[in-house]
Point group: C2
């Protein structure tokens, strides 16, 4: 508001004359009525002018602030309007040649399908691998070929800062995957409009499996999950007999039927027939609209602690695995010996302690593998936690991880909240010594961790 803080009506009006100046027309004893009339008119004019003056002053205080806004504010405003306009146009479906796909009105007795049923995937894939030795399903002796899948919606985030953290999160994933020979697919398209939102991963997983027979494991990771142990590697030999690896707690799962017994923010699926069958069984609870609503009620009733809302993929999976446990659970490994998914609230404030006591490579509470910012929703508007806490925590996790990458280059962040970095080692004419000492890939390949803090 443009008013001067000292402004008060009383002060202003105290400058108004309290006496009428005596003039030629002032009435004397028994002055003429006409003079009195003039006097009154004059008084009223004064009132009018003064009130108008006060009003204009007040108005000017308000308008004046806007008029004197800096040129750069105007430029920014212009920029924002231009941006919004073009984005609105971009977002509108402007292809006239392609009729809009009609909304599918599925009823509960018509089952949604991800695609035509494939039943010979294991043998088909085996033959393909034999015919294509240049695309093996392993990258080295012990290491299967893994593809990390993540993604975010095609449109800009509701909250401006959201895209910045999506960018940092994908950089984080690029770093981990480069160090460990994992390919990345970052999906920004909805393959199936019915399965949008958290369900969008299902059609994409299936699509990647069928298009990349050389990939042995597909690893889904949420965009709000960060790698925080750059050394730790998933112990794939442990999962020879399994087709799904997911973080969770068996007692929460089997005994309590908790809706958060497992976490679908970071999990692995083997590229095989079993997985296609699981996806086919899982997906029908997902189509948005009445089906997803109804499924939501079913899972809320069945699972413990679940609020009432439409079916999410995680609840649906837990429900499916519990109600058909004999069919699926022999091939599902519920993992909690390391943080394949690590819920952020208990982890982010411990980083400095961990840096003092431990070193990367443990993957567990000593050095969490993945820190997952469940509920922060930096890309959306309605987070479950205060924005400040989330942003701070994500910044800390990002820098905690980035330090482990920069270590090879001799740098580290000035603090876990600082984007600035500082040298940890002087430059040298023999840089290869440090490569031998600090390159994470070397510690992976020979099994020992050489990364020093």
């Amino acid at each position: 508001m443009g008013l001067d803080s000292n402004f008060s009506p009383q002060k202003r009006t105290s400058s108004l004359p309290t006496t009428v100046a005596k003039g030629r027309h002032s009435s004397g004893r028994g002055g003429p009525p006409r003079g009195r009339q003039i006097q009154k008119t004059f008084n009223n004019i004064k009132i009018t002018i003064l009130c108008g003056f006060v009003t204009i002053l007040v108005l000017r205080g308000t308008i004046g602030v806007n008029l004197s806004s800096s040129e750069s504010d105007a430029v920014n405003q212009n920029l924002i309007e231009e941006t919004n306009r073009i984005l609105a146009e971009i977002r509108s479906d402007s292809d006239p040649t392609d009729p809009a796909q009609p909304e599918r009105d599925l009823f509960l007795n018509e089952t949604y399908a991800l695609g035509p049923r494939i039943s010979s995937w294991d043998s088909d894939r085996k033959i393909w691998l034999e015919n294509n030795p240049e695309f093996p399903n392993f990258v080295s002796r012990n290491r299967p070929r893994v593809l990390l899948l993540s993604g975010s919606p095609p449109n800009p985030c509701d909250n401006a800062i959201g895209d910045h953290y999506l960018l940092k999160a994908i950089k984080n994933k690029i770093d981990y995957c480069r160090l460990h020979g994992i390919e990345i697919v970052y999906n920004m398209a909805h393959l199936d409009r019915e399965l949008a939102g958290y369900w969008a991963k299902l059609p994409m997983i299936r699509r990647l499996m069928l298009s990349h027979p050389e990939v042995e494991w597909i690893w889904w990771m949420d965009s709000d999950a960060l790698f925080t142990d750059m050394v730790f590697e998933i112990p794939f030999e442990k999962y020879k007999e399994y087709n799904m690896v997911i973080h969770g707690y068996p007692d929460l799962f089997y005994d309590q039927k908790s809706w958060i017994a497992l976490n679908t923010g970071s999990f692995l699926l083997r590229n095989c027939q079993w997985t296609l069958d699981l996806l086919d069984t899982w997906a029908p609870m997902g189509p948005k609209g009445p089906i997803r609503e109804e499924a939501g009620k079913v899972v809320t009733k069945f699972l413990n602690g679940r609020p009432d809302f439409e079916a999410d993929d995680q609840s649906a999976l837990i429900y499916l695995l519990l109600t058909q446990k004999e069919k699926w659970m022999d091939k599902v490994h519920i993992e909690n010996s390391y943080y394949l998914h690590g819920f952020w609230t208990g982890l982010v404030d411990t980083y400095e302690d961990l840096m003092a006591k431990y070193q990367p490579g443990y993957g567990d509470q000593r050095w969490p593998f993945v820190t997952h910012f469940v509920g922060c929703k930096p890309c959306g508007s309605y987070a479950d936690y205060p924005v400040e806490r989330c942003l701070r925590s994500m910044e800390r996790a990002f820098n905690f991880a980035d330090n482990q990458v920069l270590n090879l280059y001799g740098f580290g962040h000035r603090g876990l909240l600082s984007p600035k970095i500082k040298r940890k080692r002087n430059e040298t004419v023999s840089p290869l010594e440090y490569v031998d000492k600090f390159d994470i890939r070397r510690s992976s390949s020979d099994g020992t961790s050489r990364l020093s803090r």
Copy 2:
């Protein structure tokens, strides 16, 4: 502004009384002075109250609008303030234990150095490669190991949409590099505060060379450059005798000494002693402050068409290569047979024509390899082109490229401006046929392009 648009001082004051009501104290003929005094006082009180009333009404009109703004506006405003506050805190250098690095006050006779001079890199690296056969400098028979380096500043963009396009640009690079077995480093830190901005690539290139002896070529690509030919591969065999590959025009370079004869938005440097020497010669024009200013004047004077501003890395490189051409140019390949860098203005409107006539794999004007959005600066505030034109064009380039990736999965964008995708092929029970037909990596590995439109 909260004022009612119908408000005008005149209208309000017209409701003010124009006559003074006659009352017991009104002066009659020859009324007592005391009565007159009371009358005047009463008039003044009226003036005060009325002006105060008017003022309050005006104020309320202003305040009232703010009070009645929707709850969501308040939430958003809160969110923005929270975000800005935490970001300001994050950006402040808050590590008390590390004294701020003093500003280096370099004079023109003191040469800035990226690091201590290394003079035996070729032999050191050769020995290291022999001792580390698990990290060869090639990925297959004909293909050297390449590392793509890109990056953006550590802080959010000035313009909210900037981060969204940085995200899309890195996804674009992830896709190309996955298809062609190239590693990515996405740098979001300033290794050297003196060489910030466009110069920041120099210390990072050097750092990566020395830390990754297994990498044969470092490929710098600007964050505003997109791959638009997902099939084309750099013909590395052509560059056996060269150490630098950069897009440009020999006549503009040698004859016209144009400041845009070469483009440092996308170029390759071999990991060798020659490159270390070039970087050592190039960098000293970069330190911000008087040196960069002075260097700017020198290059403006020497090069044709250059405006007057501080030295940028591109002008400095052209200047250096021209003034020392005998030393460097035998190892520099000025490439323009394909768009290692493709200036966007002449390309983005041709995509539909190209799609009608050609197919990916040419890399040249028939299907540009890289479309580079020079001057668009989506992350900053001051672009050289209208925002709308830039955003539209970047969206088109992104989708043009994305279509080539989605082709394997049977999808494509509804239009080059649309984030939505549609099926191009029906689902099938024999997906492996399409893998054989559409997987870009297969066309790369056997040299023929099988990608159909």
